[in-house]
Symmetry: C2
Subunit: 302 residues, 2 copies
């Protein structure tokens, strides 16, 4: 049940119709780690931050059972920083600032204690860096899940395809699935993308839920209809964290168990969007999670 | 279990990325009648056509258990005609031709034998005409379901609101729900729209399924992920026909039964889009319908 999570740990400054934040903790690996920590401990984090990252923020990860032995701290550099503004519909956003900083030459180090992990979550990062992590593990994990985004399809397509070929589960959104496959029909897109390597494909559709494709099976997970989406940042990463955390806890990577994992990931994501950044994710109880999963079950039962 | 269906019976000329048709039978009431006929017979049709409508097309309705006593035939006029072209994504379309013809001064006549019907389906039409049908029934039906579209929100808002106030279930798509309520969140939109009268609201989301809202309950029905949508014309009407047909057959208008009705409506719509116009709807077996409903059940079970 050991889990490695790689991705960005960063600062975000966010603006939504509901308000704005100064620099707060963000980054794919932050959301994934916190989300998966509700299912499995320790979560073995591989990431890099600068000297500007607060000790108290690292301690917050540790308090949630995140092992930070693989978190490099470059004292004389700055953490990755992203600033963005969401429009009224919350489905579109514009990037205001991107400062790569320490992420520009990120060379992931896998602590010896992380070796022989069974579950590997590759959060959104340059695909060559994601691949480096796979190469630096002495044994191939039982399950490798990869998240990526359109940015890498635009600027690093060949590297992306090489990494996708190595993973078991790919997680992208509907527009990205269409871009990657050149197909509008998601059924056709899934077939083409799975032919690139992954045995399973998750297509995230935001407020419309998510689809899980296996070789000959499809599962449709709803999204919870929400009064308000306060801040969508990190929802996809939180989904991924819940998904792989649930699988790692159960130690079962069958399609049937992946269905439940998708629901648990969706439940975690539905919490994430209720507050800014990781705020809601650091204060969840098992009872709240169980109740939310039950809401998903009730939503589709007929 | 008696059902009245009102709406347009018309000619359509369609163009999709897969091909084009000459004038074929279309119109909301055509799709609704054929779809509901797989659940309940007779379907009591109230509509108007011109002298150009073929006797063989009327007989096709009759062969499916549609009572055409309420179908006015204006021999010296022409049937309503709509021509449209779908774009590659099948989610957007442009209207090429609209000829109101007999629909311009449609005055619905309710045959005496249709009185005391328990279920009334108001297919998309001018809201004042929809309301006339309610007023011409001697007793209020047990359940009135209304479908409408953004067109009436634009040009006949006051009439539309008056009619919506009289119905039990309103069926519209997500963009229409947002337009009608002025709310982006569908949860907030549903609350506002139900405050206008309907006890239940169905929000159709095309390839993303449908939401059924009750006073304190929500149900999320998936759409079947399809290889290809051949022709989306009439899918919403076919959905409505399956929905009210299922309810009329069961004689049960509880929220719980409405969930199953939404699934049956979705299943019927998934057939509709497989071929041009009503082609797939006139050749369905009970076994095919049962198998399709089972696919919906499998799609969301975890």
């Amino acid at each position: 049940m050991s889990l490695i999570v790689i991705g960005s740990v960063a600062f975000d400054a966010l603006e939504t119709p509901f308000g704005k934040t100064d620099k707060i903790v963000g980054g794919a690996a932050s959301y994934i780690s916190l989300s998966s920590s509700y299912f499995v401990k320790p979560v073995n984090l591989v990431a890099v931050v600068g000297g500007d990252f607060l000790k108290s923020d690292i301690e917050l990860f540790q308090e949630h059972g995140v092992d930070t032995a693989g978190l490099q701290i470059k004292e004389n550099e700055k953490s990755f920083f992203w600033s963005g503004r969401y429009f009224n519909d919350m489905n579109s956003r514009e990037t205001l600032v991107t400062e790569l900083n320490v992420l520009g030459d990120f060379d992931p180090i896998i602590p010896e204690a992380y070796q022989n992990c069974e579950y590997l979550m590759l959060g959104n990062l340059a695909p060559q860096v994601q691949r480096t992590v796979i190469e630096r593990l002495q044994n191939r994990p039982k399950l490798i899940v990869m998240d990526t985004m359109n940015f890498w399809m635009d600027i690093a397509y060949d590297e992306l395809v090489k990494t996708i070929a190595l993973v078991d589960v790919l997680s992208i959104n509907d527009e990205e699935a269409r871009q990657l496959s050149g197909e509008y029909s998601l059924v056709k897109a899934a077939r083409k993308i799975m032919a690139m390597g992954p045995k399973y494909l998750i297509i995230k559709k935001g407020e419309h839920g998510a689809l899980l494709f296996g070789q000959n099976e499809i599962f449709y997970a709803p999204a919870l209809p929400l009064e308000d989406v306060f801040d969508p940042t990190g929802a996809g990463d939180t989904f991924a964290g819940g998904f792989i955390g649930y699988l790692a806890k159960a130690g079962d990577v069958s399609f049937n168990n992946m269905k439940s994992a998708v629901i648990h990931g969706s439940a975690m994501a539905s919490f994430c969007v209720e507050k800014f950044g990781t705020e809601r994710l650091v204060n969840l109880s098992q009872e709240e999670i169980d109740a939310r999963v039950q809401m998903f079950a009730d939503l589709v039962r007929f």
